[in-house]
Amino acid sequence: MLPASQLWLIPALPLVAAAIGAAAPRTARRLPVFLALAAITGSLLLSVVALVGALAAPAAKLTANFTWFVAGSTAVRLGWLLDPLGALMSVMVCAVSVLVFIFSIAYLRADPRLGRFFTCLSLFVAAMLGLLVANSLLLLLLCWELVGLASYLLIGFWFDRPSAAAAAKKAFVITRLGDLGFLLGLLWLFQATGSSLFYDGGAGVLEAGALERLAATVLPGGWTAATGIGLLLFAGAVGKSGQFPLHVWLPDAMEGPTPVSALIHAATMVAAGVFLVARVFPLMAADQGLAAVPVHALTAVAVVGSITALLGAVLAVAQTDMKRVLAYSTVSQLGYMMLAVGVGAWVAAVFHLITHACFKALLFLGSGSVIHAAHHEQDSRRLGGLAGRMRFTYVTFLLGTGALVGLPLVFSGFWSKEAILHAAELWPVSHLPFVAGLTGVVLTAFYMTRLVCETFLGRPRGEGAEHAHESPRVMTLPLAVLAVASVAAGWIGTPAWPWLQSRLTGAPVAAQAWSDGLGLMLFSTVLVGVGIAAGWWMYGRRPRVDARALDPLAQRWPRVFAALAARLWFDELYAATLGRLLRGAAALAAWLERWVWGGVVGLTGRVAETTGEVNRAIDEDGLNTGFDRASDGLRRTAQQYSRAQTGDVQGYLRAVVVGLAVLALLLIWGGVR
């Protein structure tokens, strides 16, 4: 049993590993690897202990709060929170991280910056774990920003590639747009309630007193403070979780090493946004009963989630890069999670988050195994024929695909997706989430079938695929573990045995009747079948022979396919609007600098020059002769002095420091009174 006051140990272990790894000399390549593995294993054990403790009393919010600092009458307090949501998430994060770490050892064995990689990974996981056990929105924001920093370092890990450096910058800047909303929401919340603690024995912001006050604060137009704060916090989640319209960074984040993609897409980073919305769900839902609010916070969440779920799935259809297909699939699945939170089923969202973490980590590590074997070829058009060459990777990849598309009854993805669709069906406000969800199911089945057929079936269509062979044991072992989890993780939350649901809500949830939801299950199973059949008919029946052959979709609908392959021009749109706006502002500043301020300076100079001319005229005519010799002497002296002007900034600084030291000594010995 881990008391809440000891929860900080969970993020502290990897943080210490990262600190030591950062300070270690570059020659010690193995030290950071060893430390990172040891620390994350320790965190995993601690999280399991914490989870056992949390499950013993699922409804209790065990907290340990402390005062960070006091400024005047305002005390800023932070704290740790132990509840099933945070504990379950941290077990998931640690477990996935352990497997990704093990995989990375083999994947990056030859990289000269292996130590740096593991240092950054440790920091990444430490920040994520801190975010999960925080009982304060402020502490959560701190960890949130650390997650952003670590993702920047990892996406740009191969920073000598310009595309990786650009992708890292893009991820950082775009998530920062959302973070601005988060920060404003936090400040508003702090101003309105005087606290940033989630649970504080009745005084926390997620407890009844504060929520009632926030919902009762009505702003012009019928908005309430709860709605405003909820929407601002959601803006942060939109950035972090790659929701429309800020989804553009996520596919580019593929530039990082594949284990990083697995970590970003499964356990850390994008999970943070969904977790945040699930954590502050009481706040998001505080305005639900009020009819005067124009747009309820949760409605906005549901709409954004629906759009994202659909958009991600549509864009995934036309990608040829293996990792990009998976990246858009993540965008789509995150949309499902947001949609679930929006329709009020945050438990289903967390359920899907956990199952998704298992199978998406599996799929990414599987693609990493392929890329590793095929000598860094990740274009599925130039792969092919790997089913026989990499049997183990193929089978585990198939299991992951089964879970992602939601093959019925066995796979985890089926149960969590069913839970979401069931909740969306019952949402009284609109049918949009339900329709978007069902459409997404077909598309998911289609693009995953396409990906599997293109990558693994047919004949090798490139150098890399021809010489591919199965990856080493260190890489296949994590695949095996994740494959088991991808299948089994769904059994903790089936309608017949809603263990997860009752634990997360802290109240017993009755098992659903057998007939309830059966029709929906059958319908979505049919949809999955339709998607797979369409994918098989187009890509599996006659596998691609030539890497340069046109995609069957492109033959049929060239315009649509081109638009999708160009990712619907979102990047171009942002470049043409926001980019141009920024460039215009910069040009304006440059123009002001050159003509207005420069003009003032130039004018002053001209005035001074003219005055000088007049002076000179007077001098030369009147006072000239007598001064010549004196000035000659002056010039010689000045030449001597000007030798001291070396132009070397650091030389000047040294002189300043010496002078400072002399001054200090004088003051000390001379006695200061």
Binding site: A71, D648, V649, Q650, L653
Partner: protein, 102 residues
């Protein structure tokens, strides 16, 4: 040692580290980093005296916030200078930027 002394010793160490970086490093970006370290040492002093010193109020705290904001602006200007130097000289070695010598 009292907490104040610990803070002051830490800040002195930080300041010296930054100073050495500024004086010794040839890379302009690393020189800027050294400047940042020195600034943060000063900030640490502010906070330490605010927290452990005799006076009440929030002046120390507010001063540090100002100082951080100014440091952010300073870093932006510094980086802009480094980029400008790089454009002109194709290098960011501080020693190469000595046009102003007498």
């Amino acid at each position: 040692m009292s907490p104040l002394h610990v803070c002051l010793a830490l800040s002195a160490a930080l300041f010296c580290t930054g100073l050495v970086a500024v004086l010794v490093r040839g890379n302009a970006i690393l020189v800027l980093l050294g400047v940042e370290l020195m600034l943060n040492a000063a900030n640490l002093n502010f906070i330490a005296f605010w927290r452990f010193g005799p006076g009440g109020g929030e002046v120390g705290l507010v001063f540090v916030l100002f100082s951080i904001a100014v440091a952010a602006a300073e870093a932006a200007v510094g980086m802009a200078l480094v980029i400008a130097v790089h454009r002109h000289l194709r290098t960011i070695r501080v020693a190469a930027a000595n046009r102003l010598k007498g």
